[in-house]
Symmetry: C2
């Protein structure tokens, strides 16, 4: 509990946790070797059965990490959290399965496979490399190319009926056949690292945003029906959008895109919603509320590695020592430094990601 | 109209034809080059848009034939009709797509993929070779191995909703997800010969039993929504079972299996339902009714190539010149001769079918 940040789990998350039996991640924090900033700050706030994975990790037993990316738009900072978590797992020698959810992007968003492949390489895989994930050590696959996943989905789908899917996803008479079936592909993504060809049943953890939990519940349910180890999961908070709403790749003004120019970053952050007072004078008198501030969120999630520095910033905000303008200038500077570095690396890695893509076959 | 057989389309078929706009195959018979016995005798009794395929065939334009086999049990004579039709198409240089519906056998019947592959080779592909189909000239593929088919199914499934599928297949809240989705795989099987990699939109004919028409209706509907040529179809009658009911691979006593021993054939045919009178004496006096006789059906569908010989047999039955015992002895003899020949060839082709299997990749 280094910064006040760690204690703050919004009521909506608490409700989800109670309702669905998600446990608090902070309970495990003492046992976790060198937890990363997302763990230390409670941004990764919840889990299911993560002990199982932690035990395997601490005792050098076999386990895997499963994650996915859906290339339906440009990559933004909200996507970076999972990569930071993957890099943490990879440093501990984890076997990582990385699914490019091209079927999802095609079926659920109507993109062509050509568009999707371009986005996957230009926006995601090259950025993953730039952020420091070693893709050569991951099992990267495209759903559209994985017989394993699609065939497993068809097998899993013999064990779930329409009313169960309706209860989880709200399907109705006008739901499209492929939308109804898609959750089985997602469940198959999650369970396929336990297929005999990948080593059979074993702990697998899926790092997700809390909004992905329905997929986890379905996969866990199917796992216990079919002799797989129910997958574990960690849950990170969803970054709010810059205007105070949910960050979204479909509205570029709500998110810092990894491809944003310095001018875009500056414009977006100047417009961002903060926890400050209406005027600098009021801010000096009453202080601000960093827990409501999306600018502070950028600091906590991505820009300040040092917990004490983050705590000092929160305190300076609350006490009125600094005002939003100063803070925003600093965030603009740090964000642009981060993006500039990423852009350089991404350019270096782009050809690599494209080449790599060609060699990927499930 | 060579034998009385050709005129006989049961009321139930007439109703289906009227209800769903299936046209009479006999209308086209004059234009068809060297029609086979199933065509001449009205066993292939209906079609949709077969003119389109016939025109392509007669004018040396591109077209394809699409068919499938579901390896869920032993092959019986009822399965042979489609092979006879395929051989006829193959002699006319048709490009044939042959789908081994292993996903269907797994999802709908619960067989393991190992069981299915064994059945596919031992019961079907080896018999297809033995019957004279040149598999080397067909595109043989397993659904479980075809990315093309599964990905096309997922695309097609974005254009059909649950209520449409419910209307065609009667799905409900307790229908399994993979059962709901399976018709899209079937539609994708039917449409995939029109994918760009196979040459793009063109006439495709699917020879089926009348019970398969729902799949055709769905595929035709999707074709017109998505810019494919609506697939044509031919419909053959379903052989009745030996006891007068539907022939079924799940009850081996109702069908002549291609692997039946001479003793089994003898036993089954002696027990078979006929159109004869209760006693030989009554038969001599009143004559029998070949149109009700499953033994005559075996003659017409499989055992007598010569139409005049078949017509003579029908007449001899109706006039009481022959009794059921004589006729059954002849059918037993002819069936066993056919199966003996098939068994010899099948043994020769079994290794071939297995080898061939290994090389099959979509």
């Amino acid at each position: 509990m280094i910064s006040p940040w760690t204690t703050e789990i919004p009521e909506s998350y608490e409700r989800l946790m109670r309702g669905f039996g998600i446990r608090s991640f902070s309970e495990l924090l003492d046992r976790i070797p060198e937890p990363n900033h997302l763990m230390r700050r409670g941004i990764i706030f919840g889990h299911r059965d993560f002990e199982r994975v932690l035990d395997a990790m601490l005792n050098d037993r076999d386990y895997a990490v499963m994650t996915g990316l859906m290339p339906s738009g440009p990559m933004h900072l909200g996507h970076k959290m999972v990569i930071d978590e993957l890099i943490w797992f990879q440093r501990r020698g984890a076997e990582i399965f990385l699914c490019v959810a091209d079927v999802e992007a095609h079926v659920m968003r109507g993109l062509s496979y050509e568009q999707i492949r371009k986005l996957a390489v230009d926006q995601y895989l090259s950025n993953y490399l730039a952020l420091g994930l070693d893709l050569d050590k991951c099992h990267v696959y495209f759903q559209s190319e994985s017989e394993d996943v699609k065939n497993l989905a068809l097998t899993l789908g013999t064990r779930v009926n329409f009313s169960e899917l309706r209860a989880i996803y709200g399907f109705g008479a006008d739901s499209k056949a492929s939308h109804i079936f898609y959750p089985l592909i997602d469940a198959a993504d999650i369970l396929h690292p336990q297929l005999p060809k990948f080593g059979g049943p074993r702990p697998v953890v899926v790092p997700v945003g809390i909004d992905q939990d329905p997929h986890l519940r379905l996969a866990r349910d199917l796992a216990s029906r079919l002799g797989y180890v129910p997958p574990s999961s960690t849950y990170h908070k969803l970054m709010r959008g810059l205007l105070g709403e949910k960050m979204s790749s479909s509205n570029p003004e709500t998110a810092i895109l990894l491809q944003d120019s310095p001018e875009s970053v500056e414009r977006k952050i100047w417009k961002a919603f903060t926890g400050g007072q209406p005027t600098a004078r009021e801010q000096r008198e009453k202080g601000g509320d960093p827990s409501k501030c999306v600018v502070f969120e950028l600091m906590a999630y991505h820009l300040l590695e040092d917990d004490r520095e983050l705590a000092r910033l929160a305190e300076a905000c609350r006490s009125g020592q600094i005002v939003c303008g100063e803070c925003k200038r600093r965030v603009i500077h740090l964000t642009n430094r981060l993006l500039e570095e990423l852009t350089l690396k991404r350019k270096r890695y782009l050809e690599r990601a494209r080449e790599y893509l060609k060699s990927v076959r499930p």
